[in-house]
Assembly symmetry: C2
Homo-oligomer: 211 residues x 2
């Protein structure tokens, strides 16, 4: 396949630039991010990215959208490993959300705490809506009240906030003692915390014992 030989046409520069952008983001942070550095990292002239993404916000918007796709994938991966009862499932969704933030802290920050991507872009909105909408569906399945029409119910706000708060704080190293625990141990603690905000069905037991 002529792997080693440099070719004039890259083949899949778009994907290569996204990968380079993520690496650059991890190395430099959102705030120092530049298109030139990404092009250099991808081994390409600094004018090349314009053909695929237009400008810096365009590249960051595409990267953020890809991030939301991976956030959703992290959620569903966890769900597959969990018991099938609705409470376990929504807890798994939350653990997947935290997984993503811990594995990709810079990307997570780009997606949720940066003005540089265009958050109104249809692709990004759709990807974000899919990931968060999935959490809402899981919460609804666990007995929560979750209306979709732009109204955030207490059940949904509680679930999203607890999961997002944990993901943000742990991902940023603000809860180092929790971050550095063995994964299984950490997951048990996180599951117990997430369980606190789940709706308790009238006749049912708590989804997780308290203390």
């Amino acid at each position: 396949m002529d792997e080693g030989r440099p070719r004039y046409h890259h083949g899949d520069l778009r994907a290569a630039l996204l990968a380079a952008a993520e690496a650059e983001l991890t190395a430099t942070g959102v705030e120092g991010f530049s298109l030139r550095a990404v092009a250099k990292r991808a081994g390409v002239s600094h004018a090349a990215p314009a053909h695929h993404f237009g400008d810096t916000p365009g590249l960051l918007t595409a990267l953020a959208a890809e991030g939301f796709g991976r956030l959703l994938a992290c959620q569903t991966r966890r769900e597959r490993q969990a018991p099938v009862d609705p409470a376990s499932q929504v807890i798994a969704t939350g653990l997947g959300y935290v997984d993503f933030a811990l594995s990709h802290p810079a990307l997570f920050r780009l997606m949720f705490a940066s003005d540089r991507p265009d958050h109104e872009a249809p692709d990004l909105r759709a990807a974000g809506g899919a990931a968060i909408g999935h959490l809402a569906e899981q919460m609804a399945a666990a007995g929560g009240t979750v209306r979709h029409d732009k109204i955030v119910t207490p059940d949904m706000a509680a679930a999203w906030a607890i999961v997002h708060g944990l993901a943000t704080l742990i991902g940023q190293g603000q809860m180092a003692s929790l971050r550095d625990r063995a994964p299984d141990d950490r997951d048990a603690v996180l599951a117990g915390i997430i369980a606190r905000v789940l709706p308790r069905t009238p006749g049912g037991a708590d989804p997780e014992p308290r203390r």
Copy 2:
């Protein structure tokens, strides 16, 4: 006091620069923040800030530290307005935390989601520790298990995460329907959500009715 007349020495340029920096932060965001723009906004030559803050990270570090002081003040203001029982008090602390994030979204982001301040600087660490430590004390008073020696307990992680998650998501406009409610109405919803994570004392009732 010769107010209108421009003087060579400013009087309190340090404070004026901090105010200008906050305004600039609100207008431009952390990512486009520059020392020259701050100096221009304060009506001073662009080399002047160096006398007070050294460089850009120095200024942003001071601003973030001031932010934590105000975060703490928002917490205690709410506590003074709340009933004195421990559960009401810790909920008030949380509401104050959210108040701060809603009133100063750009500053909140600087404090928690930016690499530009030097988060290892003693002043900033102290200010941050005071604000978060206060939340921990309130949680402990409400019956939570909260050790201070760098260990985050589930009680503390839950309280911090729910409050931080709400503050972050609402402050960024991700929960617009909640943000745009009448303040009293919003507070009632938030109080109910925060109450979900409070420890339930063995013989005691829930601090807040569910649903």
